[in-house]
Amino acid sequence: MPEIIRVESLVKKFGEFTAVAGIDFNIEAGEIFGFLGPNGAGKTTTIKILATLLKPTSGKATLAGYDVLTHPNEVRQSIGMVFQDQSLDDRLTAEENLWFHAMLYDVPNSVFTERMEQVLKLVDLGDRRSSLVRTFSGGMKRRLEIARGLLHHPRVLFLDEPTLGLDPQTRNAIWHHVRRLRDEVGTTVFMTTHYMDEAENCDHIAIIDHGKIQAVDTPAALKRMIGGDKVIVGGVGSDADLEKDLAAKYNVEVQKVDSEFHFQMQSGAEFVPRVVSDFSGRVRSIQIKQPSLEDVFLRLTGHAIRQQEGSAIDAMRQGVQLWRSGGRR
């Protein structure tokens, strides 16, 4: 598969602060590529650079063969964008929002109606085309944004935290649509998330933290990297020495997460009786788990990803929204 996005030593600084600290990755045409990282990792900043909305401090990025710095218009025509925060005009109907987009992206009038039918069907909004977007739920707005992003047949669709703040059912539906899109239309999808379980859906994942990529691989390969199963031991009372003793006894690296101790073992199941006899009386619980991306992240970065729903900006937007709907309409 040819590479559709190439990023080389990309750096973005805001004043003294480095948001993206020299990252490299390539994305193949037709894959779902995920950026996994906590809030503030630099995911949105990277997307904005690729979408020509921000200029990199240094480094190079090309999309569909076009340099983002020298050919911004070609890059823009080649991408569809679903921003982290909503970007629809909710005083217009779904159809009018799509019409607006078609005009800006030079979709000819003759094919607009057919395209609109297509994309609305893809996200199951066909019957709501003439409703004002204001009357849509959060999930419907997201789906409409995805439909809009596809209207001009972009080579790459960017989805910045497409499922943030949505209920699990809607999140599943959106994933269903994204996979369908990749399978039926062949669009390359570049998405960011800080939900570990969602990243499993990607063909390749880049794990990003503090502006640096820690690893890029398939979800399966990343998990294999952990080596073996994860053993979670819960101690009795506040046994301060348990962490140290476990590490010494089995010669493993133990991580304390909340009040439990995590470490890796080749075959976890056979290992359980040994722990029980070695630490009888000091162990309250033992669990064996297949490694998850959460563990991969923990291993690579030394800390757990924080699941913060709704940033300060979201709260502000909501406040303004209330004020606006009360005052302006």
Binding site: A51, T52, L53, N73, E74, R76, Q77, I79, M81, F83, D85, Q86, S87, L88, D89, D90, R91, L92, E96, F100, H101, M103, L104, Y105, D106, R148, R317, V320, Q321, R324, R328, R329
Partner: protein
């Protein structure tokens, strides 16, 4: 070609969303009515114009009220840039493969169109203040409204492009819009202003807009002056110093200002996003 399409698209959205805001339309009708009522019944009673007792204050004020309505409507239109930024829609426009200056120009056309609708509402009220209308005059008024509004919306675009929040926009507006209005000669003629204020009034582009509006609004009305003689209102006003320049001079200054501000607006908008 592409740029024209973008201008049209942005314009059409401004127009469409405006038509959906019933509250704004009600305000556009109610506000001038209120002003005319207050001025007509209140201020006029205790006011006469120095050296021009033949022109009553309400007639003098009517073109100024048109000017004021255009001013406020246009500024309100340019605020939509800040709304769009706050609610995210601006990003959809900025990430599209379109020239940004065309987006700004589309906004200016949108604002100017809405201001023309505001003018129509005011023109309909002309008989209420004793002003006669003709078709030519209505056409001239619409063109003037467009021109003035285009200039003011452009100014609004310049400011809105640099503002991050609604609050700061309102601050700037209070420091800019109100002086622009008070200095435009809409409320008191330049002839009765103190000497130090006159250069400021001359520097206010709206001054020429209001002068042009008076030129046009007064053109069809005859009034009775001392000795029961009928005279065109426009002549009386000119003699009294209420109209200072010719219509063509006013239009030339307004056109130049509008072009300059529009270019500046398009430039600032492109640079700041």
């Amino acid at each position: 070609m592409k740029a024209l399409k973008v201008i049209y698209t942005i314009w059409f959205r401004e127009y469409k969303t405006f038509m959906r805001e019933k509250g704004r339309i009600v305000a556009m009708i109610g506000q001038p009515l209120l002003y005319l009522l207050i001025l007509g019944k209140g201020i006029t009673a205790g006011m006469s114009l120095k050296g021009s007792s033949d022109v009553d204050y309400l007639r003098f004020m009517y073109p100024g009220i048109i000017g004021m309505s255009i001013l406020f409507t246009s500024i309100f239109s340019s605020i939509s840039i800040i709304w769009d930024r706050e609610f995210g829609f601006l990003k959809e426009v900025l990430v599209a493969p379109v020239p940004r200056w065309a987006v700004a120009v589309g906004k200016c056309f949108g604002g100017a169109t809405i201001a023309m609708i505001q003018s129509v509402i005011l023109i309909v009220m002309a008989p209420l203040v004793g002003i006669s209308l003709s078709v030519l005059m209505i056409v001239e008024l619409l063109i003037l409204s467009f021109l003035i509004s285009f200039a003011v919306t452009s100014l609004g675009v310049i400011i809105a492009s640099r503002m991050q929040s609604m609050q700061s926009f309102q601050m700037v507006m209070n420091f800019l819009v109100m002086p622009l209005y008070f200095l435009s000669g809409a409320m008191f003629p330049m002839s009765s202003a103190p000497t130090w204020m006159k250069p400021l009034m001359m520097a206010d582009p709206l001054t020429y807009g209001v002068d042009a509006l008076r030129n046009v609004v007064f053109s069809e009305t005859m009034i009775v002056v001392a000795g029961n003689v009928q005279q065109p209102l426009v002549e009386v006003a000119r003699t009294a110093g209420l109209i200072r320049w010719s219509l063509s001079f006013d239009v030339a200054v307004m056109t130049a200002s509008a072009m300059l501000l529009a270019v500046a607006g398009a430039w600032v908008f492109s640079k700041s996003n």
